[in-house]
């Protein structure tokens, strides 16, 4: 991963970006998976990386993490350390690992040798478990936890090393509405209180609207970024998709709908029950 320091952008020279993605393109098997993606995140900012399946969200996160090389462009991570919550992990219930063990591995999972139990380490793990409201499941097997509980433990795993940047890949997928709201509120609180820059991918923007400072909207490997209400407009998204889409506001929720009314309306992004039967 490129870890060079970059001169801060003109608009706010005082605060350096936690993350700057500068014209990143990725070609995989002759196909342009990412095309000139550019955006930046300041410390403490909460940014939603929104797009349907196949838009390039996971690829972008993998490039930022250094798991995949960019064909061109540059990723600059200035934050001290990156925390990562991968897409749904298949954790076998047979895997002998308690929630607190997985959180502890976030602290020293890369170290060699047998770990010696220390009071300081125990305390850190306890604090982190408390921060994600998971004290009551501390000694449960990770594989036996529900989807929402596993997400909270993985978030604690990613945060215990105090990173400046937290990347989450679809952490809301497969969660019921209650756990979804819990996880979003938790992430919003952590970003604010600990001034951690958060980049969270999701195929649905509505659950994130209450906490999202800015949006990176992706379609066909291209991205539009900025304040949510500036990006999520019919004009900007039509340009991004390359065909006409409408942005409809219903009861404080946002629907992005393709088509002009002639023929079928194809909902590109819909918000669960509200979009059904459109």
């Amino acid at each position: 991963m490129t870890m060079t320091r970059q001169p801060a952008s003109q608009e706010s020279a005082a605060i350096p970006d936690a993350l700057a993605v500068d014209g990143v393109s990725v070609r995989l098997g002759g196909r342009e998976v990412l095309q000139d993606v550019r955006f930046s995140i300041k410390p403490g900012e909460f940014v939603g990386l929104i797009g349907s399946n196949g838009a390039g969200k996971t690829t972008l996160l993998r490039v930022i993490l250094g798991l995949l090389p960019a064909s061109s462009g540059k990723v600059t991570v200035s934050a001290a350390g990156v925390g990562y919550v991968p897409q749904k992990i298949q954790l076998d219930p047979d895997m002998p690992l308690r929630a607190r063990d997985l959180v502890g591995l976030g602290l020293d999972g890369q170290r060699y040798g047998i770990p010696f139990p220390s009071r300081a380490r125990r305390k850190l793990v306890d604090e982190m478990l408390r921060a994600v409201d998971a004290e009551h499941i501390a000694v449960a097997r990770v594989g036996n936890l529900s989807g929402g509980e596993q997400q909270r433990i993985l978030i604690a795993h990613a945060l215990i090393s105090r990173p400046g940047l937290l990347l989450l890949d679809e952490p809301l997928a497969n969660l019921d509405i209650a756990s979804e709201q819990e996880v979003v509120a938790l992430l919003g609180r952590i970003a604010r209180e600990q001034r951690i820059a958060v980049l969270i991918s999701a195929h649905e923007m509505n659950p994130l609207l209450p906490v999202m400072d800015r949006i990176v909207y992706m379609a066909h490997g291209r991205a539009a970024s900025g304040p949510t209400d500036e990006v999520v407009t019919g004009e900007r998204l039509s340009e991004l998709y390359g065909h006409h889409v409408d942005v409809i506001h219903v009861h404080g929720r946002v629907l992005v709908v393709a088509g002009r009314g002639e023929g079928l309306d194809i909902p590109i992004e819909h918000s669960g029950a509200h979009a059904d039967g459109a």
């Binding site: 798991l67 990562y84 991968p86 895997m95 002998p96 063990d101 890369q110 060699y112 000694v139």
Partner: protein
Amino acid sequence: MTAVGHLLQAIIEPGFFTSAPVHVALLAGGVVALVSGIVGTFTVMRGQSYAGHALGDLSATGGAASFLAGISPLWGFAGTSVVAAGVMDMIGVRRPRGRDLATGIVRGAGLGLAALFLYWDATRTSTTGAPITILFGSIFTIGSSMIPAIAVLSIVAVGIVAVLYRPLLLSSVSTDLAVVRGVPVRIAGALCLAAIALAVSLSAITIGAILSTALLVGPAAAALRLTSRPGLVLIWSALIGIAATWIGVLLAYDSYYWPPARQGWPVSFFVVVLIMLFYLLAQVVGGRIGRDSRNEERACSQAS
């Protein structure tokens, strides 16, 4: 004499504790079970039981060749299984299916060679017992001169997984998480496979190449039922393996006077059966202990 004393005397045949082959069998068998129990825990956690099984089978090839060459089968077992682990690691281990295919292909080829060597062993040399010794082990014929070699290979195998304890644990949860934290997953995976190869070669000399997986996977599988703490799983797994081996040696010693042949039953038979019994026992006990409050909560909410 007390009742317990009489009982012990009935179970333990006279001469058990004074027989030199029994001493070597208990020592070597105990060490090998310890190594298999520890390395086996990682094998099971990483979902590499099939690879372990294949490495056990492949070690038979080297064991059979070593008889022809007139060297100790331990070197044959260890040599081929470590080389096979290297080959398996090199050809596609990225994806589970690719891994299983690569394993299966290497295993098939190796067993073919083993068949050839065993045939030569049985026909060309006078050691007609060679196939049995290689495939099903011969714990009572381990010479005390083998002890240092067993010790060295054991230390290497346990050393690898001890050093890589946390990185291996993390990469069993998610390879991506491990890579992001700076774990060299490729090298760690290759070294772990080498440790598995050493563990199965060691159990090949006690309970045989074919049955070595039982000692690798069985105690670890039982231990997983008993506790959720990774460190304790290692200890339980080692203890179960050692118990199965020692009781197996004792029963085999006793069986000298048993029908039909009054020649003694093979140790491997007892060890494998005991591992199975321990596994079933752990299922029953673990079914009660392992089910934490969360599961019961969920079971209740599902029932309602």
